[in-house]
């Protein structure tokens, strides 16, 4: 499962090193939309495209705001599906 940082705070987004308490903190500040949280903390923007962290973040939002997880729409995912080297993309143009 997830790692734990030095203060015992679970790391939710491993790609961008974001812990559970950081997520709870922005929710407490009033940012409850997953798109807003994504942009404030860069969760879901790492090489795994959020496959690891987004489901966990959705559960935290549900817990903190008292809504059902099913009511939360996951954020839009962005292509490419896996990171692609510039050299490969560039040569595809030729």
């Amino acid at each position: 499962m997830q790692g734990i940082d030095k203060r015992g705070d679970p790391i939710i987004c491993r790609c961008n090193d974001v812990t559970e308490s950081e997520i709870v903190e922005v929710i407490k500040k009033g940012f409850t939309d997953i798109e807003e949280i994504k942009r404030l903390l860069r969760i879901g923007m790492g090489p795994c495209q959020g496959r690891t962290c987004i489901p966990l973040v959705m559960r935290i939002i549900a817990r903190e705001t008292g809504v059902n997880v099913d009511e939360i729409t996951p954020p839009t995912s962005r292509p490419p599906i896996i990171p692609i080297p510039i050299e490969v993309a560039r040569k595809a143009a030729e």
Binding site: K29, G30, F31, D33, E35, E36, R39, L40, R42, M45, G46, P47, Q49, R78, P79, P80, P83, I84, P85, I86, E87, A89, R90, A92, A93, E94
Partner: protein
């Protein structure tokens, strides 16, 4: 929700939030912002965050210089991080025509007090060692240009405006505007509800023309898709945002190490389409490696697109209109509304509150198109 407001703002991008903040800061707190998706969901949240003062037109230079001054103190003013970073902008010229144009531009910019200079390829390479100088004739560099985090800046204005008493309606769409006896009266939401408004601010970005039309006003603002991509974070390679007019591209390194890059496709039609294409991925990577070959080894992480709100002279339209009293707009930024957002919004709030502005907006008025006065801004990418 109250029955009516002194000012209703349509759009929760940098402009809508900043205008709301400056109105409230100057004492007008009876303000409602309506955003149909979420804060920063429009062009603002899709933009590259670049902040440049090196423009062609005096109006753009002044707005950008005024905004940089605001950006410098914004973190303290809003009590919110902005990631504002002044790494400069390096603009590259590969043809004699571009060199001539660069020289003229620098002269005008310097006359307005901007710290900018024309440099030779060697100095450009000193600033950015990884740059390919083959065929490069010269460059301009302004060290006080830079970038900021568009989400942070917008969320910062949003939080502060709320703290000062501004109301927000998020997830509601404006579907109509009531105008009677040539004066703004109310806005109608898509769920049929009605909110009275003495003044209305059109800050709807790529959708600004639709909002104006609801008030019976036609504005020459058209949406055009612009694509962008970001690489995985890599070690620090370069400080400035780089624009190469030869390839028509811009790219910069984010504070976390990712490299953001984009270009404008002159063939792109007017539309609301914001889908990404593989064509962009292929062409962008080819163009950027012509300017910085070392990027070949880096991997692309994500690509997306947003709208530029284009006007015929590529300059924004800011202020009121003669036809409808109480209607105001800050629209048509043609791809540079983030960087001029702070000063523009401050001036628009000033206009709404006092009827005049401390910096003339005459060249950016709606009237200019009727009078045929617009001077085309050529430095848009």
């Amino acid at each position: 929700m109250k029955k009516g407001y002194e000012v209703v703002i349509v759009g929760g991008g940098i402009i809508g939030n900043a205008v709301a903040y400056y109105l409230a800061k100057e004492g007008q707190k009876d303000v409602l912002v309506i955003e149909k998706n979420y804060i920063s969901s429009g062009s603002t949240g899709r933009c590259a965050g670049g902040i440049r003062q090196q423009w062609d037109s005096e109006a753009n230079i002044r707005l950008a210089m005024g905004s940089v001054k605001i950006f410098e103190g914004l973190e303290d003013e809003l009590g919110f991080p902005t990631e504002f970073y002044q790494g400069g902008y390096l603009l590259l010229a590969h043809t004699p025509e571009h060199m001539e144009w660069f020289k003229k531009r620098v002269e005008l910019q310097r006359s307005l007090g901007l710290d900018v200079r024309l440099i030779d390829p060697k100095e450009a390479k000193d600033i950015v060692p990884y740059i390919n100088t083959e065929g490069l004739l010269g460059a301009t560099f302004c060290p006080t240009d830079g970038h900021a985090n568009p989400f942070y800046v917008t969320f910062g204005y949003y939080k502060k405006a709320q703290e000062l008493g501004v109301h927000y309606l998020i997830g509601k769409e404006v579907a109509g505007i009531e105008v009677r006896e040539s004066r703004i009266r109310a806005v109608i939401l898509s769920d049929g509800s009605r909110v009275e408004a003495r003044n209305l601010v059109n800050a709807a970005g790529g959708h600004a023309r639709d909002i104006a039309r609801m008030a019976g006003i036609d504005i020459p603002v058209n949406p055009q898709r612009h694509e962008i991509l970001v690489t995985e974070p890599i070690g620090h390679l370069f400080d400035p945002l780089i624009i190469s007019f030869k390839q028509g591209i811009y790219f910069r390194q984010e504070l976390n190490g990712g490299v953001l890059m984009g270009y404008g496709d002159p063939e792109e039609p007017w539309s609301y389409n914001v889908r990404s294409t593989s064509r962009f991925l292929f062409n962008m990577t080819k163009k950027v490696t012509e300017v910085m070959p070392i990027l070949d080894q880096v991997r692309v992480l994500r690509q997306w697109a947003g709208l530029y709100a284009m006007t015929p002279d590529a300059q924004p339209i800011i202020g009121g209109v003669e036809e409808v009293e109480g209607y105001y707009q800050a629209v048509g930024f043609s791809g540079h509304g983030f960087m001029v957002g702070p000063k523009t919004s401050e001036l628009l709030a000033e206009l709404i509150l006092t009827g005049k502005t401390s910096l003339s907006l005459e060249h950016l008025s709606h009237k200019r198109f009727k009078e045929g006065k617009g001077k085309i801004e050529k430095a848009v990418i």
